[in-house]
Amino acid sequence: MSNEIILKAENLYFSYDDDHTHSLNGLSLEIRKGQKVAFMGANGSGKSTFFLCCTGILKPQKGHLSFQGNEYRYDKKSLLALRSKIGIVFQDPDNQLFCASVYQEISFGILNLGVSPEEAKKEVEQIIDYLEITPFRDKPAHALSGGQKKQVSIADILVMHPDIIILDEPAAALDPKHTRMVNHIVDQMTEAGITVLMSTHDVDYAYAWADEVILFHEGKVLRHGSALEVFHDEQALSQTNLEPPAVLSLFETLCRKGILNSSLLPPRNLQTLERYIEESGSPVS
């Protein structure tokens, strides 16, 4: 994993209306390239506001943001350059999809990059195939299911080949099938070297998936570290009203009872924990 810092925020302050309530309240963090970062925290803790600041939609009243070492500038040209590198998939696809036709919708972003129509056509076809949109590509947007809309809204961004993809609660209101699908797509993004920032309320998923977890609390970073570090920090978890991941709790109980060896690497997912238990059981033969 490279140590290059791709995104850096220093002491950000942002307030939507007045100077008394701040959505971002002196927020500082650094994101390294290629990492899978989970953003967690209560509703209103500033995750979405931070994301909008990252894409330059909102301009923090105080503080500095930099992308690949270059400080954010808010003239039109710099913003376009920035947004071609940082893509955001919004939580509610209905706020993002503005075309009735899926094909036209996906082509919007890439044409804005100044790509020739022929090239754009190729890219759009590729992404439609890649994200398995083909079965409903001819349907109008208003006839799509929530999960299908999500697929299209991810395709919208992926087609632009950004360096960073921000996903604002991608699994919100999705059925298990589409949640799995979205998770699979996210995994492929990281494999392709894209830095993925994702906000989620699913502790178990964040623990299994993320390289780093950032806990937001009242517009500030409360805790930033590897998934394991953060989910071991009970104080930070209780302050943000999060429960520790089930796999981790179970593993610790099993260790305490002496069923599992506590020198084992804490398991990230249920499968690993199951394997541990299978392997620890005294052989019958």
């Binding site: 909008l52 894409t55 939609i57 039109k76 376009l80 947004r83 071609s84 893509g87 955001i88 919004f90 509610d92 209905d94 706020n95 993002q96 999809l97 503005f98 075309c99 009735a100 036709s101 094909y103 036209q104 919708e105 082509s107 919007f108 972003g109 044409l111 804005n112 990059l113 129509p117 754009a120 056509k121 759009v124 001819d138 349907k139 109008p140 947007a141 208003h142 006839a143 919208d156 961004i157 632009m160």
Partner: protein
């Protein structure tokens, strides 16, 4: 409107080139309106009906039901054309009213019939277009015809968000009904007002968020999208030319030589 939208996405003619369908509907419509002849109108009515039902796969009953939508309006407006108030009665019908007559002549009667048929045929042309061509395809044609981008972009956004507006209104109305929001006339009136204001606020919020989302995808003030149009087929173009030329000649003959 939603019914038409659903029908057109399922139409068998949906994947024909939109320009062909658009040209056929508009040219036929123009000939039909300018001809002012019942016979031409009947031909148009029959052809568009057959195309929509047989080629497009629209159920006959639904098609006829859609055709009756403008009928009531048509009848009411042609009554004024048909009836005259005159001192002397005309040949077809006369109802004495005091010393005057409310009266219908053969000429005015035929004129009213012709109006009804022409209007129906014109509507059937537009139905043909809307039953076979999804709105994004029509916008694509308008764009090619050099319709100002501002208009087509507005139509694109309005078309998409009409459905969201209706969905939202529906959800709010349902939740109001669940809480007895339509218990009596007074409460339902109040609920309706609240629904309106809630919709207004939501629409504003949504437009803000949509703008953000578009900006995040490098929106620069113009909506660029790829068109996905099927290439026109020569055979169909020839058919359209033959039909509309024949229709035009027929209309000219009816008007000037018969």
């Amino acid at each position: 409107m939603i019914a038409i939208d659903k029908l057109c996405y399922n139409s068998r003619l949906r994947y024909e080139n939109a320009g062909e369908k658009f040209a056929f509907a508009v040219i036929t419509l123009c000939i039909c309106v300018m001809s002012r002849s019942t016979a031409t109108a009947c031909i148009v009515l029959a052809v568009t009906g057959i195309l929509s039902i047989w080629k497009g796969g629209i159920p006959v009953r639904r098609y006829l039901r859609f055709l009756t939508v403008p009928l009531a309006f048509l009848f009411l407006s042609t009554l004024a054309v048909m009836f005259h108030i005159k001192k002397a009665p005309l040949d077809l019908l006369a109802i004495p009213v005091g010393s005057w007559y409310l009266t219908v002549g053969t000429d005015s009667f035929l004129y009213a019939v012709q109006l009804i048929f022409t209007a129906l045929a014109a509507v059937s042309c537009l139905y043909f277009l809307s039953f076979t061509t999804p709105v994004p395809d029509i916008l694509e044609v308008l764009h090619r015809l050099r319709c100002p981008a501002l208009l087509t972009e507005l139509m694109l956004l309005i078309y998409r968000f009409i459905f969201i507006l209706l969905e939202t209104a529906d959800a709010i109305a349902t939740s109001q009904n669940c809480r007895l929001g339509n218990r009596d006339y007074k409460t339902s009136l109040r609920s309706f007002g609240l629904l309106g204001s809630a919709l207004m606020i939501r629409a504003f919020q949504r437009s803000g968020r949509l703008y953000d989302a578009m900006e995040a995808r490098c929106y620069d003030g113009r909506i660029h999208v790829l068109s996905e149009n099927r290439p026109p087929r020569k055979k169909i173009i020839v058919y359209i030319i033959i039909f509309d030329t024949a229709l035009f000649l027929f209309a000219v003959w009816r008007r000037f030589f018969s």
